[in-house]
């Protein structure tokens, strides 16, 4: 086989499409590759290797595993500009996120994602800062926030929801 040519096959294609559809990317087959989403996508502006249009094309052709280590999808801002303008109601953002979910379940994600996931589980807040009480007092607020981090029973609820989800299979906590 030539180095510069790929052979297309139906089996890979079916698997790729099924995987994405099951994870919330139900519009993948509607895409006609017009490029509108790419033309105003921050990922494309910043020249990441993937952008919604390109990702969708790869999936439509059956390249699911090939990009699993590509962290571009994690640069999606979830800005939803693509959803607003897509002429085919593909909801490209949902496909990017469906791919992320696939990556996540294959343990292909960055350490920063792990950290915020841990924070969420332990403190109820993805973004956390140990020094928060001091900062709050400086601006005249009570040191404790009225949020989950100050309410153990609330934290318990969040943990229950996470513990009863497939995320536990990843063994992060």
């Amino acid at each position: 086989m030539y180095e510069g040519v790929v052979v297309l096959n139906e089996k890979d294609r079916e698997l790729a499409i099924k995987t994405i559809m099951e994870r919330g990317g139900d519009g993948v087959l509607r895409c006609i590759q017009c490029g509108a989403c790419q033309s105003t996508c921050p990922m494309a502006f910043a020249d990441f290797t993937l952008n919604p249009r390109k990702l969708i094309r790869l999936i439509q052709l059956g390249f699911l595993e090939e990009m699993i280590e590509d962290s571009s999808t994690w640069a999606c801002q979830a800005c939803n500009r693509c959803v607003e303008i897509c002429p085919r109601n593909v909801k490209p953002f949902e496909i990017v996120f469906a791919y992320r979910r696939y990556q996540a379940m294959e343990l292909a994600f960055s350490t920063s994602a792990v950290q915020s996931q841990m924070n969420l589980y332990m403190k109820g807040h993805a973004v956390f800062s140990e020094a928060y009480k001091e900062t709050r007092q400086k601006v005249g607020l009570p040191p404790e926030t009225p949020t989950a981090v100050s309410y153990p029973e609330a934290l318990k609820e969040i943990q229950t929801l996470i513990e009863n989800s497939p995320i536990m299979e990843l063994g992060l906590f």
Binding site: I32, C34, G35, A36, Q38, S39, C82, E84
Partner: protein, 471 residues
Amino acid sequence: MVQVSTNPNIELLTYSEVESVEGFVGNFKVKVRKKQTWVDWTKCTGCGECMEKCPVKVPNEFNAGLDHRPAIYIQFPQAVPKKAVIDIDNCINCAGRKFGTEPKISKRTGKPILAPCERACGTGAVNRSLNLDPNGEIVELDVGTIVVATGFKVMEKDWFKEYAPHHPDVMTALQFERLLSATGPTGGKLVRPSTNQKPKVISFISCVGSRDVRYHSYCSRVCCMYLIKQAKLIKSKYPDIEIYMHFMDVRTPGKDFDEYYTSAIEMGINIVRGKPGGIEVLPDGRLRVMAYDAGLGKNVEVHADMVILATAMEVPESAKKLASTLSLTIDASGFFKELHPKLKPVETAVEGIYLAGCCQGPKDIPDTVSQAKGAAAVAAVPLARGKVVIEPTISEVNQEKCSGCGLCVAVCPYNAISLELVNDRPRAKIAPTACKGCGVCTSTCPSEAIVLHGFTDKQIEAQVEALTMPV
């Protein structure tokens, strides 16, 4: 159009609307409202003097809102017939000259004070003392067949928020067509509306509202070609203007169409395949077209002086109203539905009513002309024959059983049923030429007085029995 108006066998009713249609093929009774023009057309010579004097300014529909027209106006210089009308909603009744009032008498001159339009008209076609009926006049026509040809409208640019619709230099292709026209708002001079200067860079965007499920999923069919036409026109006249054409893909099915397209590329017109996702407005008023080029697989930007949007063709709301007046069906895309897409492309579900042009679906001029000729020929057949062939499988009322309740009249989708008096009692009657044999009345009739020939209860029961027989 001029030929039509001078043909002795054709009666042209412009500025008119169909109010109702009754009857069936060969015997349609059509009520047409001739709208009040407020100008006596037997006297109006189309000189246009009144237009010069009227102080009102209303966006000019004919120039797609690019300039203004007065309240008394002739729609465009080549209008047929070339007669003035008063847009009464926008008329400000100068000099207190409401229609049907007597003019005030000037103390100075002792003469009546007339409105400017009256004064301007040399033939007395405008006479505001007359008490004219704002509803116009109803005329009744007896016709054998009807051809529906309402035409289309194009979507306004305001729908497309991502394309800076508020910006004057973003315009629909129809507006641009008027801008390029010798009879248009600039007399054919190509200028940016915002600055009145000649543009240096022009972007064209196709499929705006077409092939877009947010608006219309269909392809408007004509945009690729007319955009290329507009681009070529500019490029040949002003070779220094840079032109970028953004197509999702280029559709050129038709004789000599693709050659026309490739010649545009050879002229130096840039084709960029990909749908632009947005337009940003630069501080100097130029437009940053944010686009994608499929060949490169990358984002590209064009800094354009003007952006032309090929907005979708669609059926106007008023035509949809007409469809219900005529008992015609509208399909999922909003166009009038033909009886069969391949074999009966101009016929409709109503015998004797035919379709021509864009009311049936988007099409270009050659296709419209072909279809219109087809419709005219089909419409002439029953008239020439004097007879029509009808299906045998239609419904009939047994008037002995009929109680005259009238339920069937309401349910018939083809207006085929009416009540007549038989021995002073109302009884239903089905017009055999109008009935399509759908059977709705048969199943509705509480007295079981209607039979659908070929599908009597007995026949259906026998069929069911045959189909469910153990083998």
